[in-house]
Symmetry: C2
Subunit: 306 residues, 2 copies
């Protein structure tokens, strides 16, 4: 017999994703129960936050926390903050001055409904609120727990800001209508989508007090699935079903964006995504059975249709 | 003899402001020495960050920290974060979809130089970086110190986000071209400018481990100078010198914005600002001599010309 985790029947990853998504959604809903916020701003924030997101980043944080021995419920505020950040980035990316998209997840984009000014502010508010959530009072009152929270705030800020996601988007904006080489494209992918996905996985581990070895394995996992995710995104923009995607396909080509399949072809891109997912799963070899959901999420990314 | 702080020759507040501003500026400059950030994004961020701001909010945090027995140099990252947040808010407020301003501090606004897309991203990056700075590793390694840092992150997020500054700006955007009553105007002022100024003062105290009594006195001080600051801002938009201000005057009237002098007249607005400054100074009565800079900054706000 090999490793424990390779025996027994396969776990039901769909049920796991559904359960964790419900956990995240219920946290997000209750968060907006109160509200001293101006009503129209609140409406613009929740419009995009509850537009049917898959909650991939929070789920990765929860799964990673469980893989390292933690309890998902303990880090819901921090995991949810990742969805605030992801949502803000979509609202701002869709603006006319950036990607100028009218449709997202089958609904008119935020600025189409609320106007550009409020869309900018709704994004700003979601980003700011994310850091409130990250700094939520910990149940564990130890110095180590507080240190971990401060560390994930710094890491999330780096992953989301100029050194990460915003930096990637700035390169993307600058290079629209320009043919990119593979290095430029790798920079944009690693920063625009990869950084936040990687920090999602790291967050769960750090908040569980994980050591360097696990953290390094999970970082490798995150980097690999982050790139796989983006490659599939690019492929879906060419081959996907616009109804399932909830937005028009072919937008990268119309905007003359350099993409993975554009540089390497669909065939090779699919192969590359498959390899990345294998690498991701291999990176988790030293982790125990409870890392099984992470192992199953990786190939799930290849099969996604939206 | 009365309180110690009321005797002796008056302190040189100009020298104090110059010294503290230099401290903040030198921290900000060195912060941008490195840089893995895409060059054009870095340029857009620093363009606005080094456009000649008075660094009022960081200085308030430093002065409040000193008033509570702390050392200014110990909280430079956290104090500087306030300037990142203030600068991001100016960049986004100036956008065509919001106030549509072409000139700020005598220079073309960020989007006029870098385009709207990069201006949105430069603001996003500054806001995100602010939270990195807030979570900077503390020199003090106690649990109490870590708790204080997490607390100021939460308070700053609340003051800057939907419950504070962004909420105020959202109301402002919504009510352009609409006549407001005094309650609406008070809401906008308290949120759009008041909240961040108040949290600047509180931050210094909280990071010094101040007790409830001082914190409550400093909060009152912050709220009063925050409103005084905004009233003077409105008056300068009518009576100021556009060269000294670095932007055109009369913009509130052109945008049909309800302002304090618009509702109450210039005379009564000046009187109100004077009263607020008196209230602010009175709130500090129980604080020791080392709160002198805060006492002097309050009337300084009345005399400012830009």
């Amino acid at each position: 017999m090999g490793h424990g985790q390779q025996t027994g029947r396969a776990m039901d990853i769909k049920a796991y994703l559904t359960e964790k998504r419900a956990l995240v959604d219920s946290f997000l809903s209750s968060y907006f129960d109160g509200g001293l916020v101006p009503a129209h701003l609140n409406e613009a924030m929740t419009y995009s936050l509850f537009a049917g997101g898959k909650r991939l980043r929070p789920i990765l944080a929860l799964a990673s926390h469980e893989a390292c021995g933690g309890t998902a419920e303990d880090i819901l505020p921090q995991a949810a903050s990742l969805e605030f950040i992801h949502t803000y980035s979509l609202i701002h990316d869709d603006l006319p001055a950036m990607d100028n998209d009218d449709l997202r997840r089958g609904k008119p984009t935020n600025h189409k409904v609320f106007g550009e000014g409020i869309a900018v502010l709704a994004g700003d508010a979601l980003l700011t609120e994310a850091f409130y959530l990250l700094a939520t009072k910990s149940r564990r009152s130890s110095l180590a727990a507080h240190r971990s929270v401060l560390r994930i705030i710094r890491e999330t800020a780096l992953a989301a800001g100029a050194h990460g996601m915003v930096g990637g988007q700035a390169e993307d904006v600058r290079s629209e209508n320009t043919a990119l080489d593979s290095d430029n494209l790798a920079f944009i992918h690693a920063h625009k989508t990869g950084a936040l996905i990687t920090v999602s996985v790291r967050m769960g581990a750090i908040l569980a007090g994980s050591g360097k070895k696990n953290l390094s394995a999970l970082t490798q996992y995150g980097e690999n699935i982050g790139l796989a995710f983006q490659i599939i995104d690019d492929i879906l923009d060419i081959q996907g079903d616009s109804r399932e995607l909830g937005k028009e396909t072919g937008s990268d080509e119309r905007k003359k964006k350099t993409t993975y399949p554009g540089l390497y072809g669909i065939e090779q891109s699919r192969r590359k995504a498959g390899e990345l997912v294998e690498n991701a799963v291999r990176a988790l070899e030293s982790l125990p059975k409870r890392a099984e959901p992470l192992r199953e999420i990786a190939p799930y990314i290849l099969r996604r249709r939206n």
